[in-house]
């Protein structure tokens, strides 16, 4: 069984349990659910609900274990050569030309004297032919329009072509060695978009409401009780002192702002799962640092807000779980603590969630743009997704579906009238294999998900080792939209509703012409959106 299929079964079980235990509540509890790959085990009731204890602030750097071979859905990386150079061979999009220059190629029989005379008749002076060139570069009066002159010369039968000498400019191609695996950025034209807006600035804060983020050095002491998974009982591990480290390719000075953990109730929203760190990587992985992968809005500050519990949170007995109320609190917290954008790669199906709708409206009213994952249930009957339905009703909040590497609707991506935009979420199916996912750095899951091992090999996890994984899901698509929103906000569009409108106006229509339920208004087009409008075009 595929790992992420397993996840949904687990989530459903957990949700069902929560419904039983809290059945008297008026609003159905929100059992926070990752809209992507890893999740975990069903939990037995013997979990000891004990708060964790921070025993030491440690200063050791995280261990980067590179791209990682792992379980299904993740890449085996023997073929990876991080040192391989990235060469941009795409054609220039055109642009401003150099005044005073004109490129002319005459047909091969035209002698130099004739070429000189023809050009002289147009007040152009032929220069020394460049080496390796079969064309001439003529000097013309800088006030003369070379485009018009080229058109005139092209009328001549002895001129093969004539053109202005347009300036080339480099696309911003990150030097991160694993960038060549990040098809998602190339497919949405990020290299051209980064020319316009190189990753926003630290003036923009993006709150990542998720399983936490690997953002700090800290040592926590946990109590790991026995638990059951798939009818197997895993033994208690007792008291564990575990080190946490910031993800090396994500953390930098002053990168993180106003962290808060609504699962444990403190200011240390560390990631015990890997999902939130991966999402944060797509949003803002350090870029052009010659390390690992690139992120989209790589200069923004990140506000880690932990509203989802991972399996280890549950095993360690976190006092809270990812429910409607916790997520609503997280949204309000982010809005009240200076977030400009909120990324919510999470969701659920089931009854409405007015508490979250209120919170999202509150955040948007404070000028915060919200991106919400559309959900991964298309192949599971495509039930209505609650959070995307809310987002679709709020101008300034957007529900994001996923496309695969061919920009087709990803097979898992939930579809409905609520889908407003699409972004790369990847797919391992349809022949894409492991590389069809979205690559980012996160926790080294081989050292985190030890509960996937046979009981004999089950042991304490490590949260200070990191690796690069391909994940798929609308969770992975959503941070693309959040990052674009951050860039737009930095560039000058302060209104969440205007940001949504701009993204939808400039989206590349995919699928059925016009808005449709799979792609919404289309695939985000960062370059066009960032470029905006001229006076006449």
């Amino acid at each position: 069984m595929k790992r992420w299929t397993f996840v949904w079964m687990v989530a459903a079980l957990v949700a069902a349990g929560a419904l039983v235990t809290q059945g008297a509540a008026q609003q159905a509890p929100f059992e926070g659910r990752l809209q992507s790959g890893p999740a975990g085990v069903s939990l037995a009731s013997q979990i000891v609900n004990r708060a964790r204890v921070a025993v030491q602030r440690v200063g050791l750097p995280g261990l980067d274990t590179g791209m990682h071979a792992s379980d299904m859905g993740r890449l085996r990386t023997s073929a990876v050569d991080p040192a391989a150079p990235i060469i941009d061979r795409r054609p220039s999009p055109g642009g401003a030309y150099v005044p005073g220059r004109l490129i002319v190629k005459f047909t091969s029989q035209v002698p130099l004297a004739t070429r000189t005379a023809v050009l002289a008749a147009h007040a152009a002076r032929i220069g020394t032919r460049p080496p390796n060139a079969d064309f001439d570069v003529a000097a013309i009066d800088p006030s003369v329009d070379p485009v018009a002159l080229a058109q005139t010369l092209q009328q001549r039968p002895d001129v093969a072509y004539a053109q202005a000498d347009y300036r080339m400019h480099p696309y911003m191609v990150p030097n991160d060695p694993l960038y060549s695996y990040q098809w998602n950025f190339e497919k949405i034209g990020m290299e051209q978009a980064w020319d316009i807006n190189p990753g926003a600035t630290s003036s923009i804060v993006v709150a990542v409401l998720d399983t936490g983020v690997a953002f700090e050095n800290v040592r926590f002491q946990f109590q790991a009780a026995s638990f059951q998974s798939n009818n197997t009982t895993y033994p208690a591990l007792g008291t564990l002192a575990l080190d946490f480290a910031p993800a090396p390719d994500l953390a930098s000075a002053n990168r993180f702002v106003s962290p808060w953990d609504f699962i444990w109730g403190d200011a240390d929203p560390v990631d015990l799962d890997g999902h939130g760190t991966h999402v944060s990587g797509t949003l803002g992985q350090l870029t052009n640092n010659n390390v690992g992968t690139a992120g989209m809005a790589y200069n923004v500050r990140i506000m880690p807000v932990k509203v989802l519990d991972g399996n280890w949170d549950d095993i360690f007995g976190s006092p809270n779980q990812g429910t409607d109320s916790v997520v609503a609190e997280g949204i309000r917290y982010a809005a009240d603590h200076g977030a400009n954008v909120i990324n919510m790669s999470l969701g659920r199906t089931g009854p409405p969630a007015p508490v979250i709708q209120d919170a999202m409206q509150y955040a948007v009213s404070k000028g915060v743009f919200i991106a919400v994952a559309a959900g991964n249930d298309y192949e599971n009957g495509n039930p209505d997704e609650v959070l995307p339905e809310i987002a679709a009703q709020i101008q300034g909040a957007v529900a994001v579906g996923a496309v695969d590497e061919n920009l087709n609707h990803a097979p898992y991506s939930s579809a409905g009238s609520y889908v407003e935009l699409a972004a790369p979420g990847g797919s391992f199916d349809n022949g894409f294999g492991a590389k069809g996912g979205i690559l980012q750095q996160t926790l080294d899951l081989s050292q985190v998900d030890t509960y996937d091992n046979p009981v004999a090999q089950f042991g304490p996890p490590r949260f200070d080792a990191f690796a690069y994984y391909f994940f798929t899901g609308t969770s992975m698509a959503t941070p693309h939209v959040s990052a674009l929103a951050a860039m737009l906000m930095q560039q000058g569009i302060k209104s969440p509703a205007a940001i949504e409108a701009a993204m939808e106006q400039f989206a590349t229509d995919e699928g059925t012409p016009g808005r449709d339920d799979e792609y919404g208004f289309g695939l985000i087009n960062p370059r066009a959106t960032l470029l905006g409008l001229g006076l006449a075009r």
């Binding site: 999009p93 055109g94 642009g95 401003a96 485009v147 018009a148 347009y166 051209q192 020319d195 316009i196 560039q491 000058g492 569009i493 302060k494 209104s495 509703a497 205007a498 409108a501 701009a502 960032l530 470029l531 905006g532 409008l533 001229g534 006076l535 006449a536 075009r537």
Partner: protein
């Protein structure tokens, strides 16, 4: 080729106006208030400073921060003794602003430089009336050919704009003769420049399709 055809058409209009002036002149001589020493035909040159309030106010404000701007130009006039005059003039407006996005009538500057260059080439025919030996009032109308170029940083060639369209103008003003060979004129002009704005860009968002506007001009005229 299209540009050549338009230029040719403009030339024909100019020639027509000149011809009309010449034909009308003898018949009209008796009706003019021209002084006896006024020549039958006089050619004059002028330098023109204009200040225009563009009709596409919201679009210009979104991109340039204001809907007004200066034009510099010049031209030549042929003035007949009977009061008919024909003028050909060109001016140029060039300004750098920024690209923008418009949502619900509110514009958001995007910080990407955009330079717009507007060059109206106008042919105007009209009538001058001498109020006093030094003061002449006049009014006229005509046709023009206006070129508009818009270039933006990061824009591809297809995203920039280079268009020419037929424009129309009416103007009225008064001229004060400082000396026999030198005069100053103040002039009001209304111009309409269709077919450039309104189909895309900020101007489409605001529903504005006239690249012309109203302008005040000061002309320094050399000639009798």
């Amino acid at each position: 080729m299209q540009r050549w055809v338009r230029t040719q058409r403009l030339g024909m209009v100019l020639a027509g106006c000149l011809l009309a002036g010449l034909v009308i002149t003898p018949a009209a001589v008796a009706q003019t208030s021209a002084s006896p020493d006024t020549p039958l035909i006089s050619a004059r040159g002028f330098f023109d400073y204009g200040y225009e309030s563009f009709a596409a106010k919201q679009s210009f404000t979104a991109v340039f921060g204001q809907s007004t701007g200066s034009l510099l130009g010049g031209g030549a006039q042929v003035v007949f003794r009977n009061g008919i005059y024909v003028e050909i003039g060109a001016s140029r407006f060039k300004k750098t602003g920024q690209r923008a996005y418009v949502y619900n009538g509110t514009s958001y500057g995007l910080g990407i430089p955009l330079t717009a260059t507007l060059v109206p080439l106008e042919v105007t025919a009209g009538y001058r009336y001498r109020v006093s030996p030094r003061i002449v009032v006049y009014g006229g109308g005509g046709i023009g050919s206006t070129s508009y170029k818009e270039t933006s940083q990061f824009a591809t060639a297809s995203e920039n704009v280079d268009k020419r369209t037929t424009s129309y103008q009416v103007k009225a003003g008064g001229e004060y003769r400082i000396a026999e060979w030198f005069g100053v004129a103040g002039e009001f002009e209304y111009s309409r420049v269709p077919n450039i704005l309104g189909t895309s860009g900020v101007s489409q968002a605001y529903g504005e399709n006239n690249l012309g506007g109203t302008s005040l001009h000061i002309k320094f005229i050399v000639g009798r």
